[in-house]
């Protein structure tokens, strides 16, 4: 190699409070390679890349771009040295056209010649082989198309290093394929790509090399060809397999506890989000609901939590109708709820003890007056039992994500609910907290709870669920036993290919 490496990051150190997010990490990106940055949530992937893109500043360490030391203080500096980033949440202005979004902030002079701009964007689209329609409004584009606009925006600004933060998280499998084709073509044109992911299969398919981060440290860089998914998994978590495994593969023979019949509901915009959902969950069973983000999972969880009205259909717990009865009665029917958005289910400014009691205040009240002592003892008991790192009087907002989730878990599970509605339970949690949460869910399953697990993390569903249902555009595509669920089949279902056509 005569040409210098595209990027060298040396001894990058970054601390947030007491958390070391990047612990003297070295990272090298060669010219024209696709290099995966692999790791669990919170391993420091995004932090490292935000430092490279100038969104964060390293406490120490240096960055070398094309053999020259670079001082990157802001995204502007990063763009100037040819680094572009496509984040999970796109930085696009929906009411503007594709062209306008691409040239936004990258114009010279006061006047904009839109025709000229359209022409240049179309030219770039041809040159890089990324099909976009310059005059289309971004709000009319699909997620995959928006991502292409983001990529083209970076390339238009002469990026020769592209950082992609979990680009496939929002895509259906077919869009993922398209993306990979584009990346491969761009690589041949000389683009270097950093590909952040925590999905092993993708990493094996698309990349040349892989760097694994674990707990803020570089756990090693390997050639993709000479490694295997189990080895990468071991590097990611520090051991060969994941800690929790479920006990039996046999479908539960327990009685049907939770039953949804032809349930429909609207989303916040008043559009149909759930159509004709029929599901049954048995005692001692975990039903995993798989699907790509935004296909009705949020609304389904809310419908079952009692915080969203259904427009048709019926929800029953042990023949007890809980359709549109509100959270209080849903809980009274024996439903425990662990919601998708932790911050929307606790009151940040109230204490741990108060939040733990909030769902059942009556039990801590005598003639309207709160019993501080009971409240405190209850909190102490749960804190000890669930190993929560907090004291009863701490405001909830001072807790880490994992501890906050444990508070919610404790509040729900202490009552041994007959039904548990749990959505994205490990999102944003570290490995330890993730295992803890999954272990607790399996424990409840053994105790005979009927659990509906809604998760966008397919690995999580495959690991925990006895039965898997796939949701797509608000409809249940198919329900199959976990043993019969191959990833490929799930992938097709998740992208809307009907069950009877699978294998045909």
């Amino acid at each position: 190699m005569d040409r210098p490496n595209a990027i060298e990051m040396r001894h990058i150190y970054k601390r947030f409070g007491s958390l070391v997010a990047s612990d003297h990490v070295n990272f090298t990106l060669r010219q024209g390679e696709i290099h995966a940055l692999l790791g669990e949530n919170g391993a420091g992937k995004t932090t490292l890349m935000r430092i490279l893109y100038g969104l964060y500043h390293a406490d120490s360490g240096e960055i070398v771009v094309n053999g020259q030391a670079a001082e990157i203080k802001s995204p502007k500096d990063a763009i100037a040295v040819g680094i572009g980033m496509v984040t999970q949440h796109f930085a696009l202005v929906p009411p503007l056209t594709v062209t306008e979004n691409i040239i936004l902030g990258y114009t010279d002079g006061f006047q904009i010649n839109l025709n000229e701009a359209h022409r240049r964007v179309a030219e770039a689209s041809d040159k890089f082989g990324i099909p976009v329609e310059p005059k289309a409004l971004v709000k009319d584009l699909s997620v995959g198309q928006r991502q292409r606009v983001e990529i083209l925006k970076a390339l238009y600004r002469n990026a020769n290093v592209l950082i992609m933060d979990e680009p496939t998280a929002v895509l259906v499998p077919q869009e993922v394929e398209q993306l990979f084709e584009s990346l491969e073509r761009l690589r041949r044109q000389g683009l270097s790509v950093i590909f952040i992911s925590h999905k092993l299969n993708e990493v094996m398919t698309i990349t040349d090399r892989v760097t694994v981060l674990r707990l803020g440290q570089n756990a090693g860089t390997v050639e993709t060809q000479s490694t295997s998914p189990p080895e990468l998994a071991r590097m990611m978590v520090g051991r060969e397999t994941f800690g929790v495994t479920k006990t039996a593969g046999k479908p539960s023979q327990g009685k049907i506890v939770l039953e949804l019949a032809q349930v429909a509901a609207l989303d916040n915009k008043g559009l149909p989000a759930l159509k004709n959902i029929t599901l049954q969950v048995r005692a001692g069973e975990i039903l995993g609901l798989a699907g790509v983000s935004g296909n009705g999972q949020t609304e389904l969880a809310q419908v079952l939590d009692g915080t969203r009205l259904v427009t048709a259909g019926q929800i029953k717990v042990l023949n007890h109708d809980i359709t549109n009865v509100g959270p209080e009665k849903v809980m009274a029917a024996g439903v425990g709820r662990i919601p998708e958005d932790r911050h929307e289910s606790v009151v940040a400014e109230l204490s741990v003890a108060q939040n733990m009691a909030l769902e059942h205040l009556d039990e801590f009240t005598r003639q309207g007056v709160l019993n501080k002592k009971t409240l405190l003892e209850h909190a102490k008991k749960l804190i000890a039992e669930y190993q929560i790192k907090a004291s009863p009087g701490d405001k909830i907002r001072t807790l880490s994500g994992g501890n906050m989730q444990k508070v919610i878990l404790a509040r729900v599970l202490e009552r041994n609910p007959q039904v548990i509605i749990v959505a994205q339970p490990t999102r944003g949690l570290d490995v330890g907290a993730t295992e803890y949460v999954r272990g607790k869910l399996l424990e409840q399953r053994r105790k005979g709870a009927a659990i509906l697990l809604i998760s966008e993390d397919l690995d999580e569903i495959l690991e925990l669920a006895d039965t898997i249902a796939v949701i797509y555009e608000g409809e249940i595509m198919d329900i199959l036993p976990a043993a019969a669920a191959e990833t490929e089949r799930l992938g097709l279902l998740m992208s809307g290919v009907k069950a009877d056509k699978v294998g045909a």
Binding site: E344, S345, V347, E349, L361, G368, V369, L370
Partner: protein, 353 residues
């Protein structure tokens, strides 16, 4: 070198200092205005802060001035804690005053033991009713209560004005002022030959109830949950709409009591200038008192002190009484800025070389 704002709460020991710092900063800021009014700021502050307490008569007057402020401050606090931005305490005060007058003028041959409770209940209910429509609009239709409660203040004032220029116009003097309430309906004086009346005790009782409800009861906790995070409160099975409705109505009721207290304790008849904006000052007091019952009490007493002082200072130094209002307004702005310091701190960061 650059500055960075971090979300770090102030240490516990520093928190009581923050309101003090706000007061000091306010006086530094207003000193310029006092100088422009051709007075010595130090003299002015003496009359504002010390002189009212130096004689028994004026010290009692501070408590008289604080009475309606304690009540409106409590009213605003009760709503704000529940996440209902009631800007309409002024109107609710007028509603309560009107009801108290209507009841009081008909209490000629009735014992005080009946007349006074009757007026209090009437005032509370009138304040509640005046608060009802915007509260329902908020809870049922999500119509912004800040606008509706504020607009109803003018409506209340005009209705009182219409009453005083119509059916209640004084038949002898032809002044726009209602007939006097019956002697038995007048609040007893706490100290002979002073203006301090039963309303002050009433206000203190309401402050204690406020403290108890907010910190000791399940309903208080529900109110706080609703005010801090309606989503989480709803998720936990709390009836957000009902809770908000109750805090809005009780707030209006306390505002109504403030009106009763002014009629039965000070004026004995209804005039349209019964409140120089006590309802609005209540917002300042609730904010200065950080929505905490004892804080509200202290803030009300402090504003009562400045109000009393404003009259002395204008007599002694010839500056306009409006200076008292200016100080109150400056104090609110500075305090709001200072309250941020409770949750954030500014640190200097060195850019790495």
């Amino acid at each position: 070198m650059s500055f960075k704002i971090e979300r770090i709460p102030a240490p516990l020991w520093a928190r009581p200092l923050i309101p003090l710092m706000a007061i000091v900063l306010t006086f530094v800021l207003t000193a310029t205005l006092i100088l422009l009014a051709n007075a010595n700021p130090l003299d002015a502050y003496y009359y504002f802060l010390i002189d009212p307490l130096s004689s028994r008569v004026s010290a009692i007057e501070v408590l008289v001035k604080a009475t309606p402020l304690l009540l409106t401050g409590a009213a605003v606090t009760f709503a704000f804690v529940g996440g209902y931005w009631n800007i309409g305490v002024e109107g609710q005060l007028y509603a309560g005053a009107t009801a108290a007058t209507a009841i009081g003028i008909h209490m000629q041959n009735v014992s005080a033991w009946i007349a006074i409770p009757l007026m209090l209940i009437g005032g509370f209910v009138a304040g509640m009713l005046w608060a009802l429509v915007p509260a329902l609009m908020k809870v049922k239709l999500a119509i912004d209560e800040v606008v509706t409660t504020l607009l109803l203040n003018s409506v209340a004032l005009f209705m009182v004005s219409a009453l005083l220029n119509g059916p209640w116009r004084n038949p002898i003097s032809q002044w726009p002022q209602s007939p006097d309430i019956a002697a038995t309906a007048i609040f007893p004086k706490l100290i002979p030959r002073s203006r301090l009346h039963l309303g002050f005790i009433l206000a203190l009782v309401i402050i204690v109830i406020l403290w108890f409800v907010l910190t000791k009861t399940a309903f208080g906790l529900k109110m706080r949950a609703v005010g801090l995070s309606p989503h989480a409160a709803q998720f936990a099975g709390i009836n957000v709409q009902q809770t908000m409705l109750i805090s809005a109505l009780v707030s209006g009721g306390i505002g109504g009591i403030a009106g009763v207290s002014e009629i039965a304790g000070i004026h004995y008849h209804l005039i349209d200038a019964i409140s120089p904006g006590y309802g609005y000052t209540g917002i300042i007091i609730a904010t200065l008192g950080t929505l905490n019952a004892w804080g509200v009490a202290l803030a009300a007493l402090f504003i009562g002190l400045i109000d009393t002082g404003a009259q002395t200072v204008s007599r002694a130094l010839g500056v306009p009484t409006y200076l008292g209002d200016v100080i109150q307004a400056a104090l609110l702005l500075v305090t709001l800025g200072m309250l941020l310091l409770q949750r954030y701190r500014i640190t200097r960061t060195r850019s790495e070389s």
